[in-house]
Amino acid sequence: MIEIAGKPVRPESLSGVPDSGLEKQILAAMAADSTAFRYGTQAELLFELSLRAQTVAAARELDRSGMRFATFRRSKCNPAFWNRTNEGGFRLKPGASPSAAILDIYRNGRSYATECATAMVIVYYRALLAVFGEQKFNRVFPRIELMNWHHLDRLLREIGLMNRFSLYLPGDRRYFANPDVDPVTPELQGENVIEMGGGLYYGHDIGIRTADQIIKALNQSRIEDADDSAYLMDSAGRPDFGKLYRAFQQN
């Protein structure tokens, strides 16, 4: 169910929804769900649809970027834009352009290697860059640190918080847990993914796959006496679209 300014709205009555399939699919799913998706204005709803679609696009693009997988201890970044921290995260260099630094990851993917959680944060920054545009993005995100769910910008804090929802939508961040992982590969204790729609998920290094394929891949890294299979957790990290929309409006 969708409500704008307290009134129920039918998807077909909305103007300005792009014809591309994904936004319409998301809108239809929201309308069909019993949970109310509430917005102050139509523009706010369109902002969320756009950011969700751009998140999916950014995930596809990162999958093709050539960025490799590495544990935090062995992570790698382009020193022209980023300083590598003691924890293995990447901190934007003083004076570097935030938008150029994010785009460099996509253009020079081979110069970067990191874990799946950091890849998710990169995807969200790339999507925000597409929606905000370069100048606004640089104003809103002057300091960026890429290190899984920690040291997140306050505007992105919610992507690191897992909550249950009645409906999961493209652009949500999900998690496959692997409880019986082999202890020598703690990096495979789970896989952070972006929900892509159509039953597909993007995970860094694992690619764009179905849930079964991801579970099968994780199960291959279990300890010999494993009892439990990997599984998709019934929760998601979901951006606070309202907060991001206000930042978009105010800058």
């Binding site: 201890r73 690191g160 590969t185 703690p186 204790q189």
Partner: protein
């Protein structure tokens, strides 16, 4: 090494502690030139620590004396070699985990090596991996207090912590949460912040009195809920505020211990317990919390009255629990 265990300090160990790694390497190289057998004997000395063996790896390799070392030292060097190349080489089949020497080597590496955390990135990675192997494969829960101290020391240095923290929770030992809890009353703000994060508590106040109160109330909470705690699957890899341990309210209501790993009851439920649990599951969420807390306290205080209460209709149970909780009868 359990606290208070005496471990002798060998000659090479003493050399590194007094003169540093540079002096150790120089003197060791001299020893190798003059009398190789003395160098080998010192490496095999009981008082050698993992940090010293690790520091001398290049010299040992160059001198070709690895074959003359003790089984434990050889196993430790093999483990280090594989970690340096690719830790995946230690996955199933990469090393014989059933070999007692391998087990002892992992234990020795962690117990004598933790104090030298920070010796280098590869060294710290080896410590992390030892901790996870010891806890997940060998169930060596005796290392937990030392592991927690290592986590908090490294946190102060702003080093990479997540694998150590993951290893700690792989023990699936709710009782070990008390080792973390002691840092709630630390004077160091980074300690209390991390302890709150790991125990899923709101950030502690800054005064020592507030910290002491939080510590006490957490221990009371742990005492009340420990038999009913289970591991949720959340971790720092999945969330920035993970709830790593949760309370199974149904188990607490029935006062039945559960397995923290599987969340299954330690003993199978009787027919009557299953029926009670079904009624409990149909109550509203806030009522479930009240019922489980009341049940746990009544069970401890007056088992005979608890027997009567748990077999009364659930609506009556709620009424009693709310009434008595309000009057602080329990």
């Amino acid at each position: 090494m359990t606290p208070g265990t005496y471990r002798p300090i060998g000659p090479l160990e003493r050399l590194r502690r007094t003169g540093g790694t540079g002096m150790l390497k120089n003197r060791f190289a001299g020893m190798l030139r003059r009398r190789k057998s003395d160098a080998v004997r010192m490496l095999n000395d009981e008082g050698l620590s993992f940090g010293t063996l690790y520091a001398l790896r290049p010299e040992i390799e160059k001198a070709g004396i690895a074959g003359e070392l003790s089984e434990k030292n050889r196993a430790a060097l093999e483990i280090c070699g594989k970690i340096a190349q690719d830790p995946k080489l230690l996955a199933s089949g990469g090393i014989d985990y059933g070999d007692q020497t391998v087990h002892s080597a992992f234990l020795w590496m962690f117990q004598t090596g933790a104090r030298d955390d920070g010796l280098g990135e590869a060294y710290d990675e080896a410590l992390d991996l030892c901790a996870s192997v010891l806890l997940r494969r060998y169930r060596e829960t005796a290392i937990l207090p030392e592991l927690v101290d290592l986590i908090f020391r490294r946190n102060r240095k702003r080093g990479y912590l997540h694998d150590l923290i993951w290893a700690f929770f792989e023990s699936r030992d709710p009782g070990a949460l008390r080792y973390i809890a002691k840092y709630l009353r630390s004077e160091n703000a980074r300690d209390t912040e991390l302890a709150c994060l790991l125990l899923h508590l709101p950030r502690a106040g800054s005064s020592m009195r507030e910290k002491a109160n939080l510590y006490r109330s957490y221990l009371n909470w742990l005492d009340e809920n420990k038999p009913f705690l289970y591991f949720t699957g959340e971790s720092l890899q999945s969330s920035n505020q993970p709830e790593i341990c949760g309370v199974d309210l149904g188990a607490k209501y029935l006062c039945k211990n559960i397995s923290p790993r599987s969340r299954r009851p330690a003993d199978p439920l009787t027919q009557q317990e299953q029926e009670s649990l079904s009624c409990f599951a149909r109550t509203k969420e806030p009522d479930r919390a009240i019922l489980s807390s009341y049940s746990r306290r009544l069970h401890d205080k007056d088992p005979a009255r608890w027997e009567q209460w748990i077999h009364s209709p659930v609506e009556k149970q709620i009424e009693t629990a709310k009434g008595e909780t309000g009057r602080r009868a329990l």
